[in-house]
Symmetry: C2
């Protein structure tokens, strides 16, 4: 708290790292690339989980739990998927430790406990889950299977960043099986909508819904749908994906069903997931140089009340009013903290709750007691206003809604002003370099062009937007014909 945060304008990356640590969201651990999610950060993640979990259940899904480990032979079964993840897999080879004869007090993997078959720590669970579905599906009556799991997964990333890219992360992964292609595609799209709604209504994060190019597809999918968000530094962030798996995993794991008509067919699959990466998106989309800015719907503490007083007598009077207000706010379902700790000054507390992104701060002092008022400060705009204590709980409830809407609007305006249509490669590079954000450009549809643009500019095709307008155009790099614009950006 002693030093102020680095400024976004000076070093966005450093600002992010410092903010995550100082706001007590997460920190690096003793394990390379793995993070510790601290209580305040975890409280936000819990709110995300609860909200999503309800949305999944409301759309007919149930939770289950599948093993952390995937035997190598199962992992290999769907080749595209295996190839896609092989380079970042943690591998368990032994199941016991023993004393190390060469180093007193030290242990080593016991050579006698070498596994016959290595176990992969799941980087994603299609393999283990589809090997299970094989036994769960016999007939069309067993379909659809609509299952989600909340779990940890491990992908051995070389360059890691708290929340954005970590070797272990927490996520949910939905895995569904259907009797028809149409139904599986409808499920894929439905879950994309669930994610988009969640991002916009809870994270206050406007997203572009789209489809990935084959290059950027999930390994093993026929189509990957995604939601793409824009961060304040003009870089994009993939916030969620929903995959239409076709019959790829059904074929790899021999999952067939007896159709109503008496035939025998492979089932159709989907999978979809969001992860603790959303924490990174939340932070980078809204926060400022003073600290976090949390949308009220995800803030662990929505309102903090800080007493301003000299001496115990004043504190007692203020506390009575504060506790009265606290109860009224709680009764309205608002989470509120009354911080009467005498170890810190009000100024220190103000800065602390700004750093933590508490949406509304209420200060009550001696003069307020005389006037029957309180000072209400918004975290998002930093406006302060004095209100009557009477009916303040309703004012605050409305204010929280207003803040939620305002944070979204602000991010939306920023995003809208950072989607630039370009028609030449010069312009393309100029926007990426100077204005940043999404670049809407024609592309000739080949992976080679996509790859070359990526090499030359670091921009990738974030998605082919679902709202893509069909129009004749020329590829921004090759001049070859194109049928519509796609969105490029540098991305996290």
């Amino acid at each position: 708290m002693s030093k102020s945060l680095p400024k976004r304008s000076e070093d966005y990356s450093l600002w992010y790292n410092e903010l995550v640590k100082r706001a007590d969201l997460a920190e690096n651990s003793a394990v390379r690339g793995c993070m510790v999610i601290k209580p305040y950060g975890y409280a936000i993640w819990e709110k995300m989980q609860q909200t999503l979990d309800k949305m999944f259940k409301d759309t007919g899904h149930t939770n289950a739990y599948f093993p952390l480990f995937v035997p190598k032979s199962l992992f290999e079964a769907e080749e595209t998927n295996a190839e896609g993840f092989a380079k970042e897999c943690a591998v368990v080879t032994h199941y016991r430790l023993r004393a190390n004869p060469d180093k007193k007090g030290s242990l080593m993997a016991d050579p006698d406990s070498k596994l016959e078959e290595e176990l992969i720590v799941r980087p994603t669970s299609e393999a283990i889950i589809w090997s299970t579905y094989k036994n769960w599906v016999q007939s069309y009556r067993d379909l659809p299977l609509l299952i989600n799991q909340w779990a940890n997964v491990v992908r051995w990333e070389m360059r890691t960043r708290l929340f954005l890219r970590t070797a272990e992360f927490l996520w949910q992964e939905g895995h569904t099986a259907h009797a028809s292609k149409e139904e599986a595609i409808a499920e894929t799209k439905q879950m994309l909508e669930v994610y988009a709604t969640f991002a916009e209504e809870f994270l206050a994060l406007p997203v572009v819904k789209g489809v990935k190019t084959p290059n950027e597809r999930f390994a093993g999918a026929d189509d990957t749908y995604c939601i793409e968000a824009l961060m304040q530094d003009g870089k994009a962030l993939q916030a969620g994906t929903s995959h239409f798996l076709g019959q790829n995993f059904a074929k790899a794991f021999d999952v067939k069903f007896a159709t109503k008509e008496g035939g025998l067919e492979h089932v159709w699959g989907t999978s979809w997931g969001v992860s603790t990466r959303l924490m990174g998106a939340l932070i980078m989309a809204h926060s400022d140089d003073e600290g976090l800015v949390l949308p009220p719907k995800l803030a662990p503490i929505q309102v903090v009340i800080v007493p301003i007083y000299k001496g115990q007598e004043q504190l007692d009077i203020v506390s009575e009013k504060a506790n009265d207000l606290r109860k009224k706010l709680l009764a309205k379902g608002i989470s509120v903290k009354y911080d009467n700790a005498d170890t810190q000054s009000p100024g220190w507390k103000f800065a602390q709750y700004e750093l933590k992104g508490v949406p509304v701060r209420i200060a009550i002092g001696q003069r307020d007691i005389q006037n029957g008022t309180a000072e209400v400060a918004r975290r998002d705009t930093k406006e302060k206003k004095v209100y009557s204590l009477e009916n303040l709980e309703n004012v605050v409830a409305d204010l929280l809604d207003e803040i939620q809407a305002n944070i979204y609007q602000r991010a939306f305006a920023f995003r809208e002003s950072h989607i630039t249509e370009v028609n030449s490669y010069e312009e393309f590079k100029d926007v990426l370099e100077n204005k940043t954000g999404f670049v809407s450009a024609h592309w000739d549809g080949t992976p080679e062009t996509e790859e070359r643009i990526k090499e030359e500019t670091k921009a990738t095709i974030r998605c082919i937007p679902l709202t893509q307008v069909l129009e004749d155009g020329q590829c921004v790099l090759t001049g070859k014909p194109s049928k519509g614009r796609v969105l490029f950006a540098k991305a996290y």
Copy 2:
């Protein structure tokens, strides 16, 4: 569904295994010793989680998340703990797969990706958490730290059984740090009370609270408190433990704090956990030869309504009444399913919901419509009674409370009738062999005696009950003096 369950009286173990599978709670996976928790089983676990999570928060704890992996050097730091778990650790040695040159289409751990330091998949998280606490604790102002995590852990068990003993299991582990020994002990005891309350009020499972002997202590603890329950086959099951860690981990990880008085001292620790093993306890304590018997507070479906009808016209009339009742039950917070599937007969459904342990089944048929009644069947006693549809929602609400209480009472009566005081080794062996249950006996307090009794009878000291009466006696094996009785039993 075609075959009936094995009978408890004939093969308790087989009955348990079959019940877990047929009631769709869990099944074995392709990974040795790891289970798949199926949606119905997971729904029960979710109810346990939600309840416990609230109890933890109400006692001041917050959730966080720590890494899955523990670097070997940290794992070794607390020697007793390391020794205790070394023999059942999954070890990650590589972080990448590559094509296997000797076998086309197959992958192998890439020798170039060998880790400099092996990573242990956490069997429990004291090591990784205390290595983190070192940075979180400087002064008495940072204490107490009251943190819980919901996580998966891996202990490489050789003989596994669904829920009771699996290589991977789900659990919560609380890890707290305190400024004084007294406070840490008070926390240890508080969490034991939380577990006991949870077991008795939600699982409907009477438990004995006690302390473990040094032999049975958690590796690295100064004292292990436990709750011990009795299963219907007369074997005991440890349902939760709460450990007073003394300063063992603080010393191993050098976690010190500046005291109020200006000194520098090691902090005091606790840890406590319950796991998916509770699912096993729940099943084995209450269920019968027809299937699960679930306490209403943990039942995913509390009430099922089954229509009895011939033809669509009758179904329409019954459905109207059933849906009306369904809404009234839902409005009272009761989870209810109306099963109007036309693919199965009412008889099949009755058997199915018995197997699944749904506490209350309501059947509505043509005659009921004429009389304005419904037939209500309790799962626990199998009693059936006809009630007026009017006000039935209140009757059912009361009935659910009654069932919850009855299941507890039944288990309590069984437990009470299976605690036997014995005063000779002959009697001791006889009770263990024939009557089964807890044997309350004098013990000379030595690990040698404890060990010999275990070898000769397979019974272990489950705990020294907190309610132990101090009385002079003679050890049941050696005749040496004893100051009070302890509880022996064969155990899961």
